[in-house]
Each structure stands twice: as C-alpha cells, then as structure tokens.
C-alpha cells in the first residue's frame, strides 16, 4: 500500500451466502490466509487475502461460498493490460524484481493444441487395447549403436555388448523434480507412493532425500542442482538415477530461492543451511561454466557411484537447445531432460516466467532431429517436461521425439492443487507447498498416493487407446513418428521445425 497509489482492485471477491451457510466453521478452519472469520451468527470475509485456492469451496458442505475473479475491472485496454499495470504499481512501490508463482502466464499459442493425432481407417485396423497387448514399457538411458555378438561352439549366439544401466518405466510418464522444502513431506510421500504403484519414477528435486522417502528410493531420481543441497555419496547411491539440473523451463538462466519461510528445522537439516535463511541455488553450477565442465560433473557422479547409475541432465528449452543437447549427449550423460517454457515453479521472476525460453514441443522436435542427424540419438534418452497437461500431450510429444515425460503441476493438481500460484508463501491450504505441520497433515499420503497413481493410470489407458487407434501397439513405434501428427493452423517455419505436415496434407 502506498499513500499515493492507494490500494488496487482486489483479485477475488469471496462471499458466503447466509441462506445456505450452516455456520459449521470449516471455511474458517481451512483457509490458511485468514479470509474468513465468524462474528455472531455470520461468517465474514476478507477478500483481499483470498488466493482462489478453493480450499473453502471444496470443504463447504452447503456450497455456500462463491469466489469471483476480478470483481472490479480496470478500464479495458489491449496494450495496458491488468498484469502490466499491476506490475508497474508494484515496482513503483517497491523498486524490486517482481516474483510470481506457477508457469508462463502469457497468452502464447499452445502448439500442442494445434497438433492433431492420427487414427486408422480401412487400410489397416486399429488395435483394441482391451484384448490385445499394448506395450508402454520404456527404457531410459544409453542404448548401444549396434551389438557385438559371438557364435558359441554350440551354435548359439552370445551377446558380448554390455548394456549401460537404464531405468525401466512401465509407462512413459514420470513425475518431475519438486524438492522437499518447496513441497511438503506428505506431498512427496504421496507422489512416491503413486509412482511406485504405477511402476514409474519421480524426482527428488534439490532438497535431499528425507528418511521417510527412502522406502521408495528405487523409484526416485535424485537431483544434483547448483545449490548442491542434500547431496552426499549416500544420497547418490540411494537414487535409481541421478539428475543434474542445469536449468528450469519456468526460469531459464537463473537460479532459485527457496524462501526462508519454508526453511524450518527439518529442511535446514537436509539442506545444511541456517533455519529461516533463503536456500539459494545459484544461476549456474559454480563448477560448470562450459560443456566440458558438465561432462566433468557427469563423469564425477558416475565415478563416485562406480558407473552404476544413469545420469540425466536437465536443461531449460532455450534457443540453442538442440546443439546443447547434442553436447550433453557426448558428455557420458544417459538422458537429457528438456524443460519447456510452460514449466511450473514455486516462484520465478515474472519477466522470466513469461518471456524467456521456448515451448517444449519445438524444443523436443529440434533436439530429436539434431541427435538423429549427428547419429547419436541412441546415446541419450530425451525426456520432455514443462506444460504436459493430459495424455494427448504425452502422445504428441513422444511423436515429436521424446522417450518419456515428466509431469509436475498435473501431479500436484491430482493432490488438490488449484494452481492458485501462491506456492512461495508457504501457506498452501492443500498441504502441498508448505512446511506448516497442520497444513502438511491435510495430505494423507496413502490417499494422495492413490490419486497420483490413478492419474497416471488414467493417462496410461488413454495413451493405449490413442496408440491403438493409430494401429500402434508399442511405444517405440510412436516415438519420433511425426507422420502420425498433423499441424492445424501452424505456420510453415514452425512446421519445418516440428517436421510435421499440415492437416489435409
């Protein structure tokens, strides 16, 4: 609030219908932001603190609560949008960088929604996944270029090639890295139970591997990021794979701060930083300033774990992503994660969130093409992340060349997240992006785990149906199969990058 600017129009208006309200007080209990209070026989609201997280709505037994977005509008103007104006007021008041939660909020065209999938008609039969095998098993890691074989004395062929360690996924859907600290232990536990049940993997993020997660370590990819939080040899050995995080699609080129509000005693212990301090992950790894330094860290991690673990490298999708991925493919890394500019985050500078990076669809297509052109596609798996919302996105990105995907926001939505974008405040009423115990307790890891595995299961079934309709019964045949995609109202330059033809062509 500044004396001369005054207050801005509220983001939301919360109202309680007194005719419906039974004064049960659940809204008061559930709102972590203090939007409700009871006075006499009425519930009063403070709309200014509302984040539209819908926790109150979800738990009101009488549907008595209404949340309206932007109840009071600015004079409309196509250039001076509400967002632009509010950022100016904010910076006029503070003189600071504006941070915001969740992913890219600008209205760029969604490439996924301009790609359509194919189906069989007449010339070949669709496959019925109800009665025919449908294989989604996916191996992530280095594959040999060719096999060395020998013929034994008894005439049998013997395989001489030693395969590199690979992760085996029963479905090409994994959950990306969200750290302990950024999200709660119960949220991580729910995700861990979910991926374990679904036969897939999740990332730890850069917050270490708290003890309660260790029973699920065979389904966890441990992350090594620029803050090196929680990284010791024990951690590296526990993970099913190790991922070096170079960048994040939501904020390419910059580091991260876990706000001090979320650094409690337990987080302080896993990260080895003082309680209440901001956990700073610097923009670069300070031992990686060049591609050969990345190769050095990849090999260092492999050397430390005796070459038993696949090492992934995650980069934000940026202009030169294909060439960078080709460099990573030569670094001894086993997979490259390409994180598009729609990726989520607890907090990112608004300008980065909205303006830096490129969409994952174009990035994956370019990476896959470059790796094939250089004859090194088998050197690394390609994992796509950043804005994967449903099973069709998974099918499309695999057809564009990805081996598997990471989902992030979608998995949190499965735990109740309403994408309100206030993760950084540490008060998440859904118990996800918070360390406050009473809020964390709102997630039952068992039930949450089931929701997560349900989501993955549901998408997996849809993926099978989509593949079956296209006459494909194994995920390998969808991977990079751009013939089964068509572009709808995409410009020619982008079509060339995606290597897809237009609808009708």
């Amino acid at each position: 609030m500044s004396p001369s600017i005054g207050s801005l129009p509220p983001k939301y208006r919360v109202t309680v219908d007194p005719d419906r309200c039974m004064l049960c007080g659940r809204c008061v209990e559930n709102c972590a932001y203090g939007a409700f209070r009871r006075e006499g026989d009425r519930i009063l609201t403070n709309s200014r603190v509302c984040t539209a997280c819908h926790r109150c709505v979800a738990f009101c037994p009488r549907d008595a609560i209404d949340v309206v977005e932007r109840p009071l509008d600015y004079r409309s103007h196509p250039v001076w949008t509400r967002g632009v104006r509010e950022a100016i007021y904010n910076q006029a008041r503070t003189g600071k960088i504006v941070l915001a939660g969740m992913g890219n909020a600008l209205d760029y065209p969604m490439i996924f929604d301009r790609l359509v999938l194919d189906a069989c008609q007449v010339t070949n039969p669709s496959i019925d996944p109800l009665r025919e095998p449908m294989e989604l098993r996916t191996y992530l890691g280095k594959k040999p270029q060719r096999l060395e074989l020998a013929r034994r004395g008894d005439g049998e062929v013997e395989l001489l090639t030693e395969l590199s360690p690979n992760l085996c996924l029963e479905t090409p859907i994994m959950i990306g890295h969200m750290s302990y600290g950024a999200i709660s232990l119960n949220a991580q536990l729910a995700l861990a139970k979910g991926v374990t049940a679904a036969g897939t993997f999740m990332g730890t993020g850069e917050g270490g591997l708290p003890e309660p997660l260790r029973p699920y370590q065979d389904h966890m990819i441990v992350q090594v990021a620029s803050g090196r939080f929680g990284v010791d040899i024990d951690y590296l050995e526990r993970g099913a794979a190790i991922e070096i995080k170079i960048g994040q699609g939501a904020k390419p080129g910059i580091g991260g701060h876990l706000p001090g509000e979320k650094v409690d005693e337990a987080v302080s212990k896993t990260r080895m930083i003082p309680v209440g301090s901001d956990a700073i992950s610097p923009a670069p790894h300070h031992d990686i300033y060049s591609i050969e330094d990345l190769a050095q860290l990849v090999r260092s991690l492999k050397e430390a774990t005796e070459w038993k673990k696949p090492v992934f490298v995650k980069i934000a999708a940026v202009h030169n992503v294909a060439a960078i991925a080709a460099g990573i493919a030569r670094s001894s890394a086993d997979a490259v994660v390409v994180d598009g500019f729609r990726g989520g985050t607890g907090a990112a500078p608004r300008v980065f969130r909205d303006h830096v990076g490129i969409p994952v669809e174009a990035a994956v297509a370019a990476v896959d093409a470059k790796l094939r052109r250089q004859g090194i596609r088998n050197e690394v798996s390609v994992i796509a992340s950043g804005g994967i919302r449903e099973s069709t996105d998974v099918a499309k990105i695999i057809a564009l060349g990805a081996d598997a995907v990471y989902i992030g926001t979608a998995a949190l939505v499965a735990l109740g997240c309403r994408v309100c974008g206030n993760c950084y405040r540490g008060l998440c009423p859904w118990g996800i992006a918070t360390q406050r115990q009473d809020l964390v307790d709102r997630i039952d890891p068992e039930a949450g785990g089931l929701q997560v595995s349900n989501l993955i299961h549901g998408w997996t079934l849809e993926l099978m149906e989509l593949m079956g309709a296209a006459g494909i019964n194994s995920i390998e045949s969808l991977r990079g199969n751009r013939d089964r995609l068509r572009g709808y109202m995409i410009d020619q330059a982008l079509m060339d990058v995606l290597d897809v033809r237009s609808v009708g062509a």
Binding site: E86, A87, N90, Q91, R93, T94, K96, I97, V98, L99, A100, G101, G227, R228, F229, V231, D232, I233, D234, L236, H257, G260, S268, K269, R271, M272, I273, P274, G276, S277, D278, I280, P282, H286, D287, Q296, L297, R299, S300, E303, A304, T305, E306, W307, P349, R350, G421, Y424, R425
Partner: protein, 247 residues
C-alpha cells in the same frame, strides 16, 4: 595390508579409482599414488578411514563427494578439490585452482599456497558438521560466495592481501570467512559484513593456524597475532530478500 602403492603413470582415472576402492575394501591404511598427472576424480565418493598420498598433480574434482579419507597431495591441485566433499581431509602441498571446496559439507581442506577464483563457494553446515578451508596465501575473487556455513581462513603468508578482488562473501548467509591482514571494504560482496573476532572465534582460528603450521612444518608464531585478523560474516540470513517483491 598396511600400505598399498599404485603407479598411476598413464593410468585412466576409472581403473585408478577401482584400485583405490579395492585397496580400501581390503583394509589398506595408506595408499600411495605415484606419478599422478592430471587424473580427475581421485577418491571420488570413497568412504573409510584411510590415508591417500598423491604424488604429482591430480586433475579436477579431487576427493569429490568423499566421506572419510585423508588425502595429502605433494604437488598442486587443479579445479575444485574437495567439491561437495562430505568428510575427511585434503592437504595440498602447493596451490589449487578455482572452486576449491565448492559446496563442501564437512571435513577439512588445507592448501599450503594460494587458490583461484570462487573458493569455498556455497559451503554448508549443520550442527557439528562444519567444513573448514584453510588457505596459506591468498584467494581470488568471489571467495565464500553463498556460504551457508563452515569456516574459510586465509592466512596471507605471501605478504600481500588475503583477498584483493571483488565479491568476497556475496550472498553469505551462514558461516564465516576469516582473513589475516583485513580487507578493503570495496571488495566485500552483497550481504557480507566485517566484524572483530570474539575470544571464541580467536580460539578456533588459533587452533586452525597451528594445525596449518603443523601440516606444512612452519613456525606458527608469525601468524598468531590476533589483531591481524578480521572476520566476515552474514549481515542477514536472507541476503537477497531486498531484491524481490511478490506479484
């Protein structure tokens, strides 16, 4: 098996580390590596109570992720010795490159001479696990940036300033940097502030000074004048909080 000698001449680091691990597993107390030249990752991730003597110039990431062993290098070290080291000790009879003790979590590093840029960056600590980096001569720019814990001590034995470049302790939010001979305040980074040593601080520093002197066989007396030392600590636990506003 007390001492194992490995001739590292022309050897790749993977078989070299395999031999080191095998020797540790077989119960060696001391492993002597002869003719080391440029091999990276020596003793990476190795655990155990063992002494590893490195004769020559090891390559980058010496003792990375290491948890326990004591390494002594008779030569200079390259990029990032003690990177993300968890426990144990590295003693370098010579100088070292950039990013020495990067993200160190525990254990101690003693460098007889000077180190390069970004030493001790992002060191951490939790309770009793407090990493220590002692540098005999000087350190270059960006020393102790983002430090969240531990102690960096620079003794300036060469006669010049301990640090004469920018970014000392930028973003420090835990731990301490102790310099003999003080520092020009223009070189202090964002969020770093200079304070005098308390009696406790001095006791800690003096013990490290004497430890350093013992390691390298020098007389500690010229380094034992308390008034020569200054201590750089975090001005706040949230050095960059003033840079951001929420939407």
């Amino acid at each position: 098996m007390d001492e194992v000698v490995i001739d590292a001449a022309g050897m790749h680091y993977t078989p070299l580390n395999r031999e080191i691990r095998a020797a540790v597993a077989a119960g060696a107390r001391r492993i002597r590596l002869e003719n080391v030249l440029g091999q990276r990752f020596i003793a990476n991730g190795v655990r155990g109570d063992v002494e590893i003597l490195v004769h020559g110039v090891p390559g980058g990431d010496l003792g990375m992720f290491m948890s326990g062993p004591r390494i002594e290098v008779f030569g200079n070290a390259e990029h990032a010795p003690g990177n993300t080291m968890d426990g144990g000790e590295i003693v370098i009879h010579g100088s070292a490159g950039d990013a020495v003790g990067h993200s160190m979590r525990g254990g101690r590093i003693f460098v007889e001479g000077a180190i390069g840029y970004r030493g001790g960056i992002h060191m951490k600590e939790y309770e009793k696990k407090r990493p220590v980096l002692v540098i005999g001569e000087s350190a270059r720019a960006f020393l102790g940036e983002y430090m969240a814990g531990g102690t960096v001590l620079v003794l300036a034995r060469h006669g010049g300033p301990a640090v004469a470049e920018r970014g000392l302790g930028s973003g420090i939010h835990g731990g301490e940097i102790i310099l003999r001979g003080g520092i020009d305040p223009v070189h202090l980074g964002v969020g770093a502030s200079q304070v005098a040593l308390s009696d406790d601080d001095w006791a800690r520093v003096l013990a490290l000074v004497r430890e350093y002197a013992r390691r390298f066989g020098i007389d500690p007396a010229p380094l034992e004048r308390r008034e020569e030392y200054t201590r750089v600590v975090p001005a706040s636990a949230r050095p960059f909080a003033g840079k951001y506003a929420w939407e």
